[in-house]
Symmetry: C3
Subunit: 431 residues, 3 copies
């Protein structure tokens, strides 16, 4: 199996996805999903779902839909000193519409900036409490002079719907492997764009594999509320079918590989993620579940308890540009996205093929008469012969492929062709 | 919950308890228990039990009752060179009555001293074999001149009864938390007085708590034979009800905190003790069960197997003054007793509240609309919000409060008010 | 229990066993087994079994029987430059008969030597593919001059049978402890002779023990094919009865003690082997099952899964003389064999006595009135009293003797007489 990461193609999609103004509801999400559908091509269907505002989903209520056309702060001379058209982070997300004239003093409680990062615009939201505000760099804020300001937010916040999407790729079994990501932040690179871009390209690759053992589900939801909505619609089916899931977030920069376990850290998703990272990014960072922050919070909650873990490049909250305008297209790269694809693709393939096998005969089989063992007895068998013998030694119906690879200290993906060889000779059978 | 250790009051009781001449039977035990009842006050009943000599209790037989009025060794001039009136350790405990005249040579096999601790009087017993003897300092012994000596032990050793006591404080549940200590040594500070003093003040404190989840049992027995007698009377009930027990011994000095596990080290008592010690006395000494020496020997024996461990200050056998006259009121202190109270009280409270909880909704609940989460989305939630989320993440019906605290790396007692808050909002329910 | 290793006697047997020309079938095996039967004496029966060539045993087919009278390479002058009569390693084992004249160039593909060990003759086999060849030292090979050579191998390779043997020593129980070794290599010391010599002397010693709790089985088979044949005849019975097995191989040199675990490393055989080695050869080498190479491959295969591990001196493959003529009688010694006997004998005795016990009374029994505890209460009980108390504390029906010894940090063999003492006093009962 060759793994050729489509780094450049992914980065190209990222440049088109990044500029869209998204939030947890609204047309930005719809526009983003349309872009992904176009990239997927007509052979793969991105199913779009709309859930009306006010819908009760578990403990939550779908909020009103938010859309925005424009927003600015203008000084007395009519100069737009803060302008949403220049950077869509300039508005507090979910700001209610306003059209006011205020003094600088009255304006201040509605302004957000980062004193320690004077050029960065922070990303601020107020999804569940009506509010309005602007985000700006500390340099911009310091330049504001006392005086009167005109404040305009041309937004709508009214009943509509929340939009999410999924891709379902059937396999030989109804048992599913899932990748979930979020589509809800405006222009951010690592902490938004990288996720949907990676998952889109993983879906294209999985769709190209002829002999999928498992079905695959790729989920694109607004973070938190979207995952909760999704689970409220699909929990029973997912509990029945999902064998492993990966939460994709912050998968675009090139500074680190990171692993964030499931709640108890003991699922097959955890096992596969750690195995692949150990062999392909051995310096990866290990977090505990206490460091969770994305939709693994929902997938792993006690009442859901699906086998999800997370593989990241540099984790949300652990890089200074996080949730600011500095998390932009310069922060992510073809190499960063490609590295994530390499690890995710290996994980998905390994999870797909990770069966338990049993030998078909007591004792070791006679490999020699099948041409699988040298005829001359010398001091030590060859490496491939050792590997075949080790697979047969641990194919006891209890150990899966990853377990056997861990015992042998080798990459599980290297065992797959040897297992196929033993299956071909009827020396193994799947449990 | 405030923990105000009554160190001075405990030390005051210690000064009154210390001088009494106790053994495993006899009036000294009765006098000691009467003193404790007085300290407990009329609202708390110390139930006194008498078991006749000759009673069969499991493999043991209750011995004759021993009482002593006087004992001395006088030289030819009539000088009392060893005098029980000066220190009640001067006699071998359970010595039969004697009134003899002997040469020094004939006397020597009946004398006990410690060559390496020349000023200390050792504590020696012969509970189950008729014998008589005197204990004296090596300095006293070296000063004895050849000659004739008059030896008097004015004791009685005849059928009577063994005395023990317990306090039962009912709670919401019949399930019990137990603290056991011994009342059988004569004047020793850390290895006798500290235990009953601590347990008396723990019982007073527990009795003052309005909403006890569990019932509490406080046991005062002569060591070994008393614990065996107690278990022979109460084993079935205790097997049914006891969820955790602590053996209190050597809890009065101020040199160390120590933990001695249950036989397998895996009970909830062990879990609570280690958790509290880790947070309140992180340098505590860890023993194995091989170092046991008090009534955990009975409570943890295979045929009893109650979930008992032991928390000590400096362990019996591990301080030079142990079982000598140097283990006196100077060895223990208000700080020593108070420190033990601090750890025991936290343990008992934690064991009382240590339930398993389950969330009432799949996924995370919407804390924001209950005022439990900030409305503005910024980079990182507050500490309390993290703690609430962590409780909800691990409230899966499997993890108890201590487990959750261990996962989160916090003191479990700090989680209790947050759990109450979540219960109040109907976001948790006890399993 | 005294352990007097019969080192010199074993080495004496080794000198008689070593010269015989053995292979996986043929008269050499029969001659070897006859020698062992003679050493065992008439009171112990070595059961000889013959299995016809062509028999199907699991996945394998018993090969034709091979016997050899002579083999040499002669130069044009008639000098035998390679002569089987001088060293029976000079022929490739299972060589078909040949009588040819060849040039040196034509001969070369049939010659085997070791460039890095110029004086050593390698040991080479071709059991399952018809072939002929000679093994010689690199020095011999380098001395061969161009020219014509006469090549004679006076062997037979035709239907016959495969020979193996076992000794069955009944005990109180049908449950069995097994030792297996191989009888199939020609003249090699550590990697052949040591095994059957050790197992013969272990069988003699076990036969001399009056009160065996278990039955014992000692297996002598050609490696691989013989073990597979043996299991194909005895698998169901062995699955029913075998509680522990040891594979004896490379047990004659004096350079190391080694432990090679069972497939999962968690059988009672593993537990006993590690315990004994820890106490009697604490510097022993630990291998993983990946380093297996003898009949543990069959005994531990998933479809067989018997509780076998291996104790070795210096492991096959880990010493330079392995599978060469330098693995001779100088490599092994009375001390080497005796050391192996010491460890194996202790293991077998421990496995035989390794029961689970339960106390007969709740709480500690009163040892004092049985004379098992000192009557005077002083600061610390004696060592033996501690050991008795520890046995009673962990005799809970779950821990076996080795478990208790591991908890107490003592040699389990030292606990056996104390357990007998407690059984004698009816304070313990076997589970």
């Amino acid at each position: 199996m060759q793994f050729n990461a489509p780094g450049e193609e992914m980065y190209g999609l990222a440049t088109r996805y990044f500029p869209i103004c998204r939030s947890i509801t609204g047309n930005g999400v719809r526009e983003s999903l349309a872009l992904l559908q176009k990239e997927l091509g007509s052979a793969i269907t991105l199913n779009i779902h709309e859930v009306p505002s006010g819908s009760h989903c578990f403990d939550w209520i779908v909020p009103d839909e938010w859309n925005i056309k424009d927003a600015y702060i203008a000084d007395e001379a009519g100069n737009k000193v803060v302008d949403f058209q220049k950077n869509n982070l300039h508005v507090v997300y979910y700001s209610e519409p306003v059209n006011l004239e205020l003094s600088l003093e009255e304006l201040q409680p509605h302004l957000f900036s980062l004193p320690n990062m004077p050029t960065a615009i922070p990303y601020i939201t107020s999804f569940y409490k009506r509010f309005w505000g602007f985000c700006l760099s500390q340099e911009q804020r310091d330049a504001l002079k006392p005086g009167r300001y005109k404040v305009v937010i041309d937004s709508t916040l009214e009943p509509g719907s929340l939009t999410y999407a999924d891709i379902l790729l059937p396999g030989k079994s109804k048992k599913e492997i899932v990748v979930s990501t979020y589509v809800c932040h405006p222009s951010m690179g690592n902490n938004e764009t990288s996720g949907p871009v990676l998952v889109t390209y993983l879906a294209k690759w999985i769709a190209s594999l002829a002999d999928r053992e498992h079905s695959f589900r790729f989920i694109f939801v607004p973070e938190t509320i979207g995952a909760i909505v999704y689970l409220s619609k699909n929990l029973e089916e997912m509990k029945r079918n999902v064998v492993a899931g990966l939460q994709a977030s912050c998968v675009g920069d090139n500074r680190a590989y990171s692993y964030l376990p499931s709640r108890l850290g003991n699922t097959v998703a955890d096992k596969a993620a750690q195995h692949v990272l150990k062999h392909h990014a051995p310096d990866f960072v290990r977090y505990t579940f206490l460091k969770r922050g994305s939709d693994e919070r929902q997938y792993c909650s006690p009442g859901v308890n699906l086998p999800f873990c997370s593989i990241l490049r540099t984790r949300y909250g652990d890089y200074p540009e996080y949730h600011t305008s500095l998390d932009d297209l310069n922060l992510i790269s073809a190499d960063g996205l490609g590295g994530a694809w390499n690890v995710y693709a290996r994980c998905l393939l390994l999870l797909d093929k990770n069966k338990r096998y049993r030998t078909t005969t007591p004792c070791e089989p006679q490999l020699g008469r099948r041409g699988l063992y040298q005829s001359l007895g010398t001091t030590d068998p060859h490496l491939r012969e050792r590997a075949l013998a080790n697979i047969l030694a641990y194919a006891d119906g209890d150990h899966d492929v990853i377990d056997i690879a861990e015992i042998c200290g080798v990459d599980a993906l290297e065992l797959l062709p040897l297992i196929d060889l033993l299956l071909h000779h009827n020396l193994l059978e799947a449990v």
